[in-house]
C-alpha cells in the first residue's frame, strides 16, 4: 500500500500482550486462572488430616470412622444359588434347562456325570468349593448381566477386608485430573473412610500412588457408575502418570443393580435420587456434582478450604451411601426364599 501519514501516528503495543494472551488461553482450555491480587481475609484451614508419604511425594489423608451394618450372604446358601443356575453352563438355554430339571437334576452336582455338561459342572463345583471369587465372578459376568443377583451372592465368598467402596472427584469427565479419592474399608463393626486429597494438582500422582498402596491384591470394588467412570478414570490417570496398571478388580457397580431394582419406579437413577427414595436420606446442603471442579479450582486459587470442605463432605457421604445401598441390596439375597 502507498505510504500514509496515519502509519506514523499509530503507536503499537510491543509484541503480544502476555496477560491478555494467557487469559484467552485460560478461557479456551478452562484453566484455573491467575490468583487474585487480594487474598480472602481469613483463609479457612483444611482441617485435621494426616500427611501420607508416597513414592510420588506426600498427599493428605482425611480419615473418619462410621458405623456400618452389612450382613453378608451365607456361604452355603449362596453356593446353592450358584449351583442351581444351569444357564451358567455353555450350551444350556431355557429349553434344555427345563428338560434337565424334568429329568430330576437340581444342582451342578447332579450334572457332574453328564456326558456333555459334566466337565463344566465339575469346574463350577470346584470353584465354589475353593471360593475362587475371581473365577466365579468372571464366569457369571460372562453369562449374566452385570446386575444379576448371583453377583451379589458372590460376597459370601469375599474377605470383608477386600471390599473397597470407591468414589472419586475430578476436574471433569474424560481424562482430566482427579483430586480426591474416597475409599471405604470395613473393619470390625464399622467402616473407615479414607480420603486422599491432592492439595495441589501436582499431588495427583501421590493420591493415585496412595490408593495403589492401599488396595488389596485382589480388591472387590463397590462403586456407583464406577465401571464407566471412577475406576476407568483412575486407570487412565495411572497410565498418564506412568504408575503402572491397577489390579483387575471384582467390580460390583451398584448403578446396574439400582437400575434393575428401582429403575421402573425412579426415572432418575442417580445416586442422589436413589438415596432419597430408597434410603430416605435427605442431605443438607449437598454440592451438585457439576460445581465440584469450580469449587476445587477456587480452593487452588485462594488457598482457602471454605469451598473445598463441602466437596470433601459430599465425597465422604457418597462412600457411606454405597455401604447403605449395598446393605439394602443384600437384604434380598440374604433373606432365604
Amino acid at each position: 500500500m502507498p505510504p500514509r501519514d496515519r502509519m506514523r501516528n499509530r503507536a503499537y503495543n510491543s509484541g503480544v500482550d502476555e496477560k491478555r494472551y494467557l487469559a484467552s488461553l485460560a478461557r479456551a482450555f478452562g484453566g484455573a486462572g491467575v490468583a487474585p491480587a487480594i487474598p480472602p481475609a481469613a483463609p479457612v484451614p483444611l482441617g485435621a488430616g494426616e500427611e501420607v508419604p508416597t513414592a510420588y511425594g506426600p498427599c493428605l489423608a482425611l480419615v473418619s470412622a462410621h458405623p456400618a451394618r452389612l450382613a453378608f450372604p451365607d456361604r452355603s446358601l449362596s453356593t446353592e444359588a450358584v449351583a442351581q443356575a444351569f444357564s451358567l453352563l455353555f450350551g444350556i438355554g431355557p429349553v434344555r434347562e427345563g428338560g434337565l430339571r424334568a429329568a430330576g437334576a437340581r444342582t451342578f452336582a447332579d450334572l457332574a456325570a453328564h456326558p456333555r455338561y459334566g466337565p463344566q459342572a465339575r469346574g463350577w463345583l470346584s470353584a465354589l468349593a475353593r471360593g475362587d471369587l475371581a473365577l466365579l465372578h468372571d464366569g457369571i459376568s460372562r453369562r449374566f448381566s452385570p446386575s444379576h443377583d448371583l453377583l451379589l451372592h458372590l460376597l459370601a465368598f469375599a474377605d470383608r477386608e477386600d471390599l473397597v467402596f470407591l468414589d472419586i472427584e475430578t476436574l471433569g469427565l474424560s481424562s482430566l485430573p482427579a483430586f480426591l479419592i474416597g475409599i471405604g474399608r470395613l473393619n470390625g463393626d464399622g467402616i473407615e473412610v479414607r480420603q486422599y486429597l491432592a492439595r495441589t494438582l501436582g499431588e495427583e500422582p501421590a493420591i493415585l500412588s496412595a490408593l495403589r498402596e492401599e488396595l488389596p491384591p485382589q480388591p472387590i470394588v463397590i462403586s456407583y457408575n464406577g465401571k464407566a467412570y471412577d475406576w476407568n478414570h483412575l486407570r487412565g490417570r495411572c497410565a498418564y502418570h506412568g504408575l503402572g496398571p491397577l489390579p483387575e478388580p471384582v467390580h460390583l457397580d451398584l448403578l446396574f443393580f439400582a437400575r434393575r431394582r428401582w429403575g421402573g419406579e425412579l426415572h432418575d437413577c442417580s445416586l442422589g435420587a436413589v438415596e432419597r427414595a430408597v434410603l430416605g436420606v435427605e442431605r443438607e446442603l449437598d454440592v451438585p456434582g457439576e460445581y465440584v471442579p469450580a469449587l476445587y479450582e477456587n480452593y487452588l486459587r485462594t488457598g482457602s478450604a471454605a469451598s473445598l470442605l463441602p466437596v470433601i463432605a459430599h465425597n465422604r457421604e457418597d462412600v457411606l451411601t454405597l455401604t447403605r445401598l449395598l446393605s439394602v441390596l443384600l437384604d434380598r439375597v440374604t433373606r432365604p426364599g
Binding site: 500500500m1 505510504p3 503495543n13 479456551a28 484453566g31 511425594g57 498418564y240 486459587r301
Partner: protein, 695 residues
Amino acid sequence: MERLISGQDVVVATGPSSGKTLAMALPIVAALAEDPTATALLLYPMKALAQDQLGKWTELARALGVEGRVDVYDGDTPSHRRPRLRAEGQILLTNPYALHQYLEWHHRWAPFFKGVRYVVVDEGHWYRGVFGSGVALLMRRLGRVLARYGADPTYAVASATTGDASLLGERLLGRPVAVVDRDGSPQGARTWWAWDPDLDPERSPFVQAVDLCRFLVRQGSQTLAFLPSRRMAEALAQAVKERLPEGATPDSGSSSAVASYRAGYRPEERRELERGLREGTLRLVASTCALELGVDVGGLDAVVLVGYPGSVASVRQQAGRAGRSGRDALVVYLPQENPLDRYFLRRPRELAEGKVEVPVLNPRHKELAVRHLLCAAAEFPLRRDELPLLGAEEEDATSLEKAGLLAAIPNGWSYAGRVRPAEAVSLNALTARQVQILVAGEVLETWDEHRARREAFPGAVFLHQGEAFRVRSLDLEPGIAVAEPSTDGLTTKALTLEEARIERAPSGAASDLGLGTVSIRETIPAYKVLDRGRVVDVRPLDLPPVEFTSEGVWLTWGRDGSTSRSGSQYRDLTLATPSPGGLHGAEHALVALVPLIALCEPGDVGGVSSVHHPDTGRPTVLVYDAFPGGIGIAPLLYARVRDWVARTVDLLSSCPCQEGCPRCVLSPRCGSGNQPMDKGAAWALLAAWLAAHDG
C-alpha cells in the same frame, strides 16, 4: 526400499503413479508378515483417502501373509469394533484429526502402540501451512507417546514432487530424513504448449478453452481439463457437449463421453468415472483440483490446465495425469489474467522442468507450539527435558502454570485445564478462537477467527471444494458465520489497507534487507463484486481492523534510490527519489510472486510500501506473512530473496503493457485503488536493489 528395511526414515517424493505406495508398502508389509507383534500406523490427510487405500493394503497384507487385522480406524469406526482393532490391528489407517484425539487414550492403545514399527505419512505435500504445522507438532506428540511404550518406529513420508523434500520431511517429523526422488515409472514424451489467449482477442479465454478441448476430443485424444472452480468445470463440460455431435464414434467423441468432476462425489460415482477414463468410454473430463489426489484414472492423451493452479507442484501433479505407461502426451497451459498466470505463459519451461516450491510449515510457531504443548501435557506429564522437542521453552511452561493450565509436579508439569486440549485445539486453526461456517444449520468448515475476519465478512463469496458459498452474517462472539450456496456465479475480493511496524529485527543484517517480527493492522474498507472476473460493484464495509503480530521481510533503498552498497555497475541506475508509485508497484509485484518461492496462496501474504518507513527511516517495501505469528513464509523469502526479486524484475520487464496492468503491478485487492502506481520506477528500483545486493 532398502532404507526402509534398515530402519532409516525416508521421504519418497516423486510424481503421480510412480509406484510410491508400492515402494513403501512392500518392505513394511513384508516386515509385519515376519513379526506378528509389529504394527504399522498409516496416516492419510482425509478419511476418504484412507478408505480408498484400504483395499491395496489389505490385498498386499493377504498376499504376504500378515496375520493381524488391516483396517481403517477413524471417527467412522463403530465403537463396538474399536477395542478389537486396537488389540488385534496390525496395520491401521487413520487421519491426523483422529490421531489428534486418540493420543490421549494411549493406555487403551497400548497393545498397538507397543508394536509400532512403521509410521507412514502419505500425501505428505498436503501438510503445509497451518494444517501442516499442526500435523508436524502432532507427529512430535506421537513420537513421544510411542517412545513411552517403548516403540521407536521408522517413518516414511510419501509426497508428490516437492521443492525440498528433505526440508519437508525434517519439518514434518522433527528428525533428519533420507530422500528418495528417483522416479521409476515408465514415461513417454510430454509436449507442453503455452496458449496465449491474447492472440485471438475476438474470443474470450474461456471460449478458447472450450474450442481447444473440443478439438482435442475430435482428434481422438482422451482429455482431462483442470479448472479453478466447479462452476467453470461444469460450464466447460456443458459447452463442449453442446458442440459435439451425438452418436459419433467413441473415438471422435460424442456428447455422452463428456463429464465433469469435483470433490464430494460418492465412492461409487468416483469408481464409475475412474472406470470410464480407464476403459476409454469417457473422452473428456472437466475437473476441479479434486482429481489431483488419490484417484486412479490411468494415463490420458492430453491435459488442459485452464489457469495456473497456484503452485508448480500442483501443475506437475495435474500434468502427471497425461501420458502414463510410456505413451506420448500433450499438456496445454492456458493462463488467466493475473501476474502469476502471465509469468508462466512466458516461461512454460518452468512449469515443465523448473524448481518446485518449498512447502511452508512452521512447527516452531509459538502459539501453535504452546497449544500442542498442552495436548502433550494431557497425554503424559511433561518432563522438563521434553520441552525442546515440542518447540517450547521453560518460560512457556511457567506462564501456562501461571494461567492454571499446567500444575508443577516433581521434574515437570501435568495438565490442569478443565477442557480436553485435543478438543480445544484444532489442527486447522492458528488461533484458539474459532468460527464455524454454518450452511443450513450444519458446519461446513471451521476457520480460526483471524481467517474469518479477513475472509468471512458479510457478502463474501468463498469456495468450498470448488463450490461457491456466500456469507450472510458473521458473529465473532459465539464464533458463527452463516452462509448459503451461491449460484449466481459472482465472486468477491476484499480490498485491504495495511500498515506494518517492525517490532524486532535481528541486528547485523544487511541494511538493504531485513527479516523480523512485525505488527500488522489490516482494514477492509470495501469489497469488489466480480462477474466472471469483471468488477460489477464495489460495496463498502464497516469492520474493525484486524491486528496481529507476524514475521516480515523488507527491502530498503537509500534516499537517492541507490542501495546502501556501492561498487555496483548499476550505480548509475539511480532515480531522483524512490517515488511512492515505484515502491507501490514493486510491493504489488513482489507480493504477487511470493507463491513462486513459498508454497502458499496469494492471500497468505500482504505488503506495505513507504517512502519513509518510521522503523527503517528509509524508503521501504515490506512483505509480511498474513498468519498471526508467521507460518514460515518470511524466512523462506529472506533465504531466497535473490531468486524472488530477480523473478519479479523479470515479470516487470517482460510484461508488454506500458503503464502497469493486472498481469504485473495492479492488484485486485489493493485498498487504495492501485494509486499511485509507476511500473517503470518499480522495475528500476528492483533492478537497482538486485544489482546492489549482488554487488
